[in-house]
């Protein structure tokens, strides 16, 4: 028996044509699924009434993996086969996971850039682990909504780069979900609070989850959202608070640092329980069983906890300041502050955020559910259940995208914090006579030199018709779609040959690395500018040398006597030498000197070619 839901006026669907759409918050610690039914967006509970699905997958031998609470409970006893916080691994390479952050797992040494974790059920990648979580949420949604899903909106941190977004999409596809779009978590939170119903304003989203911190500044302009700036720290969250408390327990209970995995997990568990208890209580009793089986008991007061976590909370305030600066606004221009993430339940966090933004944050919607609720509202619109309502969401790209030009310089086509979707094109040309191919190197980052940026992809454009240097016109187009995925097209305009690439980089960047790259670009701004001047001058010198040597090869003997030729060779080798240095002025001078030395030769060549062109024609023909 089908159970019906109430539709918007005029939007009742034909039988069996329901467009069931869900929103998924695929979190580091917990995941949720939500949907809009009868106009109400709600997170969906499992059979036992739980809304939060712990993002934990336990692999078993000869059995289907277990996802959620029971996997989480098994984690202390089976840490190697129980994967937690897999989101931190999404779109990351083997180099990234060598940190001790992931030392619980046994990574498989292999050629591929995608790290695989060794478990009893075989080796699994982060994408496969995430897909298990998504499958579990999908099954829950299908049971609850009573039918097949037409699509899902999945949220990702605003700072996720192309690789991490692509990995998330791949995981969804593996779980059999049709991704309507990826939505930035802060944008979803603002939508959940219905802030899109207002006409304009500036909204700050403070998202302190289990393992990540994100702050985003959104501008609402005539009902349209735009992400003005984002900042964050992907290695900061409630887990760190738990770790700080756990360290305190270890100290107090005299537990050594060499405690095994199971013991550490138990400590973390007790630390979390204590933190949550202190949301309402002023003090709580902490209990832990030592390795030798003896029991330790102690008191943790709220004041004690503040001392332990205050430095962590302070670490969230400087990204807030940076995001405001990037957005170019002052703290008093922020109209609303939205709290997201379970860790914002900690009263101390709310106090500090209120103190910084000078206004009480919005906390009415359960901070664990707010992102999923917003995603569900967006999914409902995208699935076409609310066609009257217009909701256009704009996001930004976190780092500039560009390509490598001669001399290893980075030419930025799309600068950071540009709203997406976006397409930008620029024309480039060939460097050498008769050049028939061009290699295009796509890079991401703020620095001037390619070696300081991150390489995203390389591809070649072949079949450029042979022409003199600088005559070919190659149009390179960068396009970033609504999900933040980049495609690059290069086309030679006279012949129409083209080549394109979808950027699915082998692995992504961490927020901390993005921050580091941004910081570097500021610190090295002067040096970078200097390097750019040097490289540009060197490239110019190379071009002059190239052209002259080619000319000498063809007709040097014809137009130059011995003495002249020697002079030119001298000037040429002088330029060669000085071009190895980084002295911009000296290179400039040497180019000038060479040009002067050659002027007679150049003139003779010119006259000769004019004569050649005019021979057989009367002068009148040229005058008319």
């Amino acid at each position: 028996m089908a159970l019906l839901q109430i539709s918007e006026p005029g939007q009742a669907t034909a039988p069996h044509q329901h467009r069931l759409a869900i929103g998924i918050d695929l979190g580091t610690t917990n995941s949720l699924v939500a949907s809009v039914r009868s106009g109400l967006a709600e997170t969906l509970a499992d059979e036992s009434g739980q809304h939060l699905l712990p993002s934990v997958v336990r692999y078993l031998q000869h059995q289907q993996p277990v996802v959620g609470q029971s996997a989480k409970e098994a984690a202390p006893d089976d840490p190697m086969n129980t994967i937690v916080s897999v989101k931190r691994l999404m779109g990351r390479g083997i180099e990234d996971v060598r940190d001790n952050e992931f030392d619980t797992y046994k990574f498989v040494e292999q050629e591929s850039a995608v790290p695989r974790i060794h478990t009893v059920a075989g080796d699994v990648s982060a994408i496969e682990v995430s897909a298990e979580i998504l499958k579990s949420l999908r099954a829950r949604a299908e049971k609850t909504l009573g039918g097949d899903l037409s699509g899902a909106v999945i949220t990702v941190p605003a700072y996720f780069d192309e690789a991490q977004r692509q990995a998330t999409k791949d995981a969804a596809r593996l779980a059999g979900l049709n991704v309507l779009r990826l939505l930035n978590e802060p944008t979803a939170a603002a939508v959940a609070y219905g802030l899109d119903k207002k006409s304009d304003g500036i909204i700050a989203i403070y998202d302190l989850g289990g393992g990540t911190f994100d702050v985003s500044i959104l501008r609402l302009n005539r009902g349209v959202f735009e992400v003005m700036a984002t900042a964050g720290d992907s290695a900061l969250g409630g887990d760190d608070m738990d770790a700080a408390i756990a360290r305190w327990i270890m100290q107090q209970a005299n537990i050594q640092d060499d405690a095994d995995h199971a013991q550490i997990r138990r400590l973390m568990h007790e630390a979390r329980r204590a933190k949550e208890a202190l949301t309402d209580a002023d003090a709580t009793t902490v209990e832990v069983v030592r390795m030798d089986g003896s029991l330790w008991q102690g008191q943790l007061t709220r004041a004690d906890m503040h001392e332990l976590i205050d430095s962590l909370i302070r670490k969230t305030i400087s990204p807030c300041r940076r995001a405001l600066r990037d957005a170019g606004i002052g703290v008093d221009e922020v109209d609303e502050v939205v709290m997201v993430g379970g860790s914002t339940r900690v009263p101390r966090v709310r106090e500090q955020v209120e103190a910084f933004f000078k206004r009480p944050p919005l906390v009415d919607i359960d901070p664990d559910k707010v992102v999923a609720v917003g995603a569900a509202l967006q999914a409902d619109v995208l699935a076409g259940n609310k066609p009257d309502e217009e909701m256009l969401l704009l996001d930004v790209i976190p780092l500039s995208l560009g390509l490598e030009t001669m001399g290893g310089l980075s030419e930025k086509l799309i600068s950071r914090n540009t709203t997406i979707p976006v397409a930008r094109a620029q024309e480039f040309t060939t460097y050498k006579d008769g050049q028939t191919a061009m290699s295009i190197h796509v890079v991401q980052g703020e620095r001037e030199m390619v070696q300081d940026c991150r390489s995203l992809a390389r591809f070649s454009l072949h079949g450029i018709p042979p022409m003199v240097a600088g005559a070919a016109r190659i149009r390179v187009t960068f396009q970033v779609d609504a999900d933040g995925l980049l495609s690059v097209t290069a086309q030679e305009l006279t012949s129409g040959v083209q080549s394109r690439i979808e950027v699915k980089p082998s692995y992504g960047l961490e927020d901390t690395e993005i921050e580091q790259m941004l910081r570097d670009s500021m610190e090295h701004a002067r040096g970078d500018m200097e390097s750019r001047r040097v490289r540009e001058q060197q490239v110019e010198a190379d071009r002059v040398i190239e052209a002259l040597e080619a000319a000498l090869q063809t007709d040097g003997e014809q137009y130059l006597d011995q003495a002249e030729r020697e002079k030119i060779d001298q000037a040429l080798s002088a330029l060669h030498q000085v071009n190895q240095t980084e002295d911009v002025e000296a290179i400039k001078a040497a180019i000038k000197n060479l040009e002067t030395t050659c002027s007679a030769y150049v003139e003779r060549r010119m006259n000769s070619s004019i004569q050649h062109a005019m021979s057989g024609h009367s002068i009148e023909e040229f005058e008319s």
């Binding site: 089908a2 839901q5 918007e8 006026p9 034909a14």
Partner: protein
């Protein structure tokens, strides 16, 4: 001629309307489509048409257009749970046959 809501259905409709923030009531109707002839319509109502019949049940306005009235007379709308799924169900005495899932019917 009458259409009724169970108390459970009325409670849910009230809370959905409240959450929606606008709307005067709930429209029940039928239209021709579906795998077995007719299909139910269940929608929020922002504007009541002159020809509509309006019932009031447990504080909720139920709005039915004259064409649908013929097919729905005597119907009771209930709110049910079925495992994790929940939603509205039409108990319509006029139905002679319905498709397996009950989304469409013939009279």
């Amino acid at each position: 001629m009458a259409i009724t809501l169970t108390e459970a259905a009325a409670d849910r409709v009230r809370s959905f309307l409240e959450n929606r923030g606008k709307g005067v009531g709930l429209r029940l109707g039928v239209r021709t489509s579906g795998c077995s002839g007719m299909a139910y319509v269940l929608e929020f109502v922002d504007d009541i048409d002159d020809s509509d019949t309006v019932f009031e049940e447990h504080g909720v306005k139920v709005i039915v257009d004259p064409k649908s009235m013929v097919y729905l007379d005597g119907t009771e709308l209930d709110f049910k749970r079925d495992g994790l799924n929940e939603g509205f169900e039409f108990n319509n005495p006029n139905v002679k046959d319905s498709c397996g899932c009950g989304e469409s019917f013939t009279v």
